[in-house]
């Protein structure tokens, strides 16, 4: 593990805490309100953080611990909270995520929930354990997805798969953007295949303006779709690290369905770039036995033509890439494909699987030029980057301070985007996503060159 963090403290973290991921995932389920079992501040901070990215209302309830709660246990508060939420929102589901506080005092949330079974007829209660001292927001996200799938697809349920049924695919995309999720839905629509996409916050966290107040916004994966997941033709899960983690025995939503119901699971990296998208479409072809529509082939053709047209502007350029491990891995694969060397791949995550993932994605000649760091913060990253002569950085807004110090441009992708609008609308995946990433990266480099030039030609 190339990790030589000289500091005990984390200085400008490149990660968020576990419950945030769970709260986001719960927002991708229809009629669901996330509830954090802990102090009021957690939900307020995370709401604020998510709002700054999505520019949409993000309601996260809290069980509002007080000093007495911490001493006598959070059961009563949790019950009150659930009842109050039910009364105020009338949700289909409350997604309960624990914070470090309630985890540490040891509330038995499952028992508390069970004890409420009788009074909560219309609202399902799903609990996910997300102690913030363990893992990052990514873990919270995946765990929440798994918890929901687990609860709605219990072992006993009958697997009514029949050969007459239409092909139906479960897709667990991980933490993608709204536009990414819309793109996935459009692809399935174009190949006329049913899709259960979990989670899907694309509508809920990017809806139209309202005529009237909506206590829970439109959209999200319908719970009845989640309930049918055990009857799907197959599941797809994005994320090489997630897949490797599953191989090491950690569960995921897809692996749960596979082991419990024998639903075949295909895992692959996030489809960023031509090669990864080829892989995705090829997988779809195999699973659905449908042809890729002409539209996507045309997009691919234009994309490769664009790669060629712009090859010289990116060749041998040096990029810093950071963010969630799976996102960085996929992005690094894309960069290698267009000729950019991802000289520094960094993440605040600490799966222990980062290097292996990158090794499997990157060609050997690129891989050996890459400095890979898990559990890295932005201050370390900046210090390390100074030795690497980077031309640009690619990642979320939180790297801005670093890139400002390094005097290199930042291509904003991923989560969170706090200093620009429309970050949640960035398309990363598919041929079109690669097209937009490619154009943006090339134009960022061109702008840098043009503005830095004493002459500033208006012709390239």
């Amino acid at each position: 593990m190339r990790e030589n963090r000289p500091y005990t403290a984390t200085r400008n973290a490149c990660k968020m805490c576990t419950p945030l991921g769970a709260a986001l995932a719960f927002h991708g389920i229809e009629g669901t309100i996330p509830l954090l079992h802990g102090s009021q501040g957690c939900s307020t901070y995370m709401r604020r953080y998510l709002i700054s990215h999505f520019k949409e209302p993000v309601d996260i309830a809290s069980s509002n611990f007080s000093e007495e709660t911490a001493i006598f246990g959070g059961g009563a508060n949790l019950k009150t909270a659930i009842q109050n939420i039910a009364r105020q929102y009338n949700p289909e589901m409350i997604g309960i995520a624990t914070t470090c506080l309630s985890e540490t005092i040891g509330d038995d949330v499952d028992m508390i929930i069970e004890s409420m079974g009788d009074i909560m007829k219309e609202t399902a209660l799903v609990h996910v354990s997300t102690p913030s001292y363990s893992g990052t927001h990514v873990d919270g996200f995946h765990h929440a997805v798994r918890a929901v799938v687990d609860q709605y697809n219990p072992s006993g349920v009958k697997n009514r798969k029949n050969s007459r049924a239409r092909k139906k695919i479960n897709l667990f995309p991980g933490m993608l953007s709204n536009e990414d999720l819309r793109h996935l839905k459009a692809i399935f629509k174009d190949i006329n295949t049913e899709l259960a996409l979990l989670p899907d916050y694309s509508e809920r966290l990017e809806g139209p303006s309202w005529m009237e107040y909506q206590s829970i916004q439109h959209g999200g994966t319908p719970i009845k779709e989640i309930q049918k997941m055990h009857r799907a033709t197959g599941s797809i899960e994005f994320g090489t690290i997630l897949a490797a983690s599953v191989e090491r025995g950690n569960g995921s939503a897809g692996s749960l369905l596979e082991s419990r119901f024998n639903i075949p699971l295909a895992s692959m990296g996030i489809p960023i770039g031509v090669k990864a998208t080829d892989r995705f479409f090829s997988l779809l072809e195999k699973m659905t036995l449908k042809m890729i529509p002409k539209k996507y082939k045309e997009q691919r053709g234009r994309l490769i033509d664009a790669y060629v047209d712009g090859n010289k502007y990116v060749s041998k350029k040096r990029a810093i890439v950071y963010g969630e491990e799976d996102f960085v891995a996929a992005m690094a694969g894309f960069l290698a494909e267009i000729g950019i060397i991802p000289v520094l791949c960094a993440s605040g995550g600490k799966s222990g699987l980062f290097i292996e993932s990158l090794r499997s994605i990157l060609p050997e000649n690129i891989f050996k030029q890459v400095s890979i760091h898990q559990g890295m913060d932005f201050t370390d990253m900046e210090e390390h980057a100074r030795t690497l002569m980077p031309d640009l950085a690619i990642g979320n807004s939180k790297g801005y301070t670093m890139t400002r110090h390094l005097d290199i441009p930042l291509v904003r992708v991923g989560f969170p985007i706090h200093d620009r609008v429309g970050g949640f609308r960035t398309l990363h995946i598919g041929y079109k996503g690669a097209q937009q990433l490619f154009d943006t990266i090339v134009n960022t480099l061109l702008q840098k060159r043009q503005d830095a030039s004493e002459v500033g030609y208006s012709y390239m």
């Binding site: 005990t8 109050n84 005529m211």
Partner: protein
């Protein structure tokens, strides 16, 4: 889709008639002119509500944040540090250590075996690297549970490093944001008192006796230099001939905080946050305090006059103050007048942290010809709400610790043109097609003082007069159907 019809929300004679307000919340809503009972504030938020309130940690963090040469280390898992990294517009004229986000980033092992060693190691390393003038250690929820002796660690490191290392008891669940203010005040007072007791402090250009009062001097409390507001206000006092010993904590420095005990008067700006410190200092050093606001023309002028009146020994201060106010106001008025043309009769909703800020906002908006139709705060006390009640016209909705549902309900009902609040209120306003002005600490533009009033007016004007409101469904009178006639269309 859960929708609450705006019509259904139309208030009955009592504001508590709507089903959407939680039973426990009924006494925190007041409709001027209709209700007769008293608003019930200073209650803890209800479990399960999506409150706009934050936690104890948040309160401490915002107060101490602007001290730019101090180390701010957050002891806990990563979240608390992540979500508060560089989010406030508190400027510094020098060091920028406050903009770094330091965390002990506790892991499972730390939680099981205790985080003291990690904390100590982190502190020592960071102090060595960044040479801060003091260090604040913020205790988060979990620290209160696992029982780290943070006091001991701080004492230890202070001894080793020779700088004040102060624990801030800001465990999230141990109260409200107000308790966080108090914890911050405690830490500040410790710092001041260290200075007082050491008496070794060298105040530049003035007598070297550390305990002696500095003539005609004040501290400014509860001013955080958002967008450079401290500098604006400091400049006013300078022109008046008043010496500002310390600002707590805008553009703050440990050294100046430590000499705060030498000022003659504490001028407290943020209603909720720093009064406790002012009272403590009054008790300890006999420094009287006054409460002021620098928002809006009247309040800014009053703030300056109040200070001038205090220094009866120097009549020239009052003369200069009058001159200053006249000059500034004259420069300001033409611009305001122009904007008032467009703003007259427009309706505003206010929801802010402290009630004192709400008072100023009401006055400032009236100055622009606008009508306040809703006002609320997260942390107002009984006294504050009494005053609000007096200031508001009949029909104004007054709220304590509101949740998004309530806020939305009333702004729709009152058909506000602009909502003035914090960043968490923004999406609610925007979803409903209502303009928004951030009057919280994340903004980057100074709204204090006379020039701040112009900025405020400009921002309100920009958004209220934006053409985009014509397009929102609530105004265009249609959800998303497209019925605009084709112009220039032939046969």
């Amino acid at each position: 889709m859960k929708q609450i019809s705006a019509k259904k929300l139309l208030l009955p004679s009592s504001s508590t008639g709507s089903i959407s307000i939680l039973e426990e919340r009924k006494q925190q809503v007041y409709l001027k002119g209709n209700d007769t009972f008293e608003i019930s504030c200073e209650k803890k938020s209800v479990a399960g509500s999506v409150s706009q309130r934050a936690c104890v940690f948040c309160g401490s963090r915002v107060v101490l944040y602007p001290i730019a040469d101090a180390l701010h280390l957050i002891h806990g898992p990563i979240g608390c540090a992540s979500y508060t990294w560089d989010i406030r517009g508190a400027l510094s004229s020098g060091p920028e250590l406050h903009r770094m986000s330091f965390s002990t980033d506790l892991s499972e092992t730390d939680v099981i075996y205790g985080g003291e060693k990690k904390l100590e190691k982190a502190l020592v390393e960071l102090i060595e690297t960044y040479s801060p003038k003091a260090a604040f250690v913020y205790c988060t929820c979990i620290v209160g549970i696992i029982g780290d002796d943070v006091e001991a660690v701080c004492r230890n490191v202070a001894l080793k490093s020779g700088i004040p290392v102060l624990p801030v008891h800001s465990e999230g669940f141990k109260g409200t944001k107000k308790d966080g203010y108090k914890a911050a005040c405690d830490a500040l007072f410790k710092l001041i008192d260290l200075g007082y007791r050491r008496s070794s402090f060298h105040y530049p250009d003035i007598l070297r006796d550390g305990k002696q009062k500095i003539p005609l001097s004040i501290n400014i409390l509860g001013e955080f230099n958002i967008g450079g507001e401290t500098w604006i206000i400091r400049e006013y006092y300078k022109r008046m001939g008043v010496e500002v010993v310390s600002v707590m904590t805008g553009d703050g420095r440990v050294e100046y905080v430590q000499s705060a005990h030498r000022a003659c008067l504490n001028v407290v700006q943020c209603s909720g946050a720093l009064t406790y410190l002012a009272k403590t200092m009054e008790a300890a050093y006999g420094i009287p305090y006054i409460r002021v606001s620098y928002f809006g023309i009247e309040d800014t002028a009053d703030a300056l006059y109040d200070v001038a009146s205090f220094f009866t020994e120097a009549q020239e201060i009052m003369e200069r103050t009058k001159h200053l106010v006249q000059e500034e106001v004259e420069e300001l008025l033409p611009g305001l007048e122009e904007m008032k043309q467009d703003l007259t009769g427009k309706r505003a909703a206010i929801y802010v942290g402290g009630a004192f800020k709400a008072f100023s906002l009401i006055k400032a908006l009236r100055h622009l010809g606008m009508e306040v139709v809703l006002v609320g705060s997260q942390t107002g006390n009984r006294e504050d709400y009494e005053l609000l009640k007096e200031m508001c016209r009949p029909g104004t909705v007054i709220l304590d610790d509101a949740n998004p549902l309530e806020l939305a309900k009333y702004v729709i009902e009152k058909d506000a043109h602009i909502f003035i609040g914090g960043v968490k209120e923004r999406p609610i306003a925007y979803k409903l097609g209502i303009g928004f002005c951030d009057h919280n600490h994340e903004r980057k533009i100074p709204l204090a003082g006379f020039e701040g009033m112009l900025n405020f007016a400009r921002e309100v004007h920009d958004t209220v007069t934006s053409p985009v409101w014509d397009l929102v469904p609530r105004k265009a009178g249609r959800s998303s159907s497209i019925q605009i006639p084709v112009k220039g269309e032939k046969p």
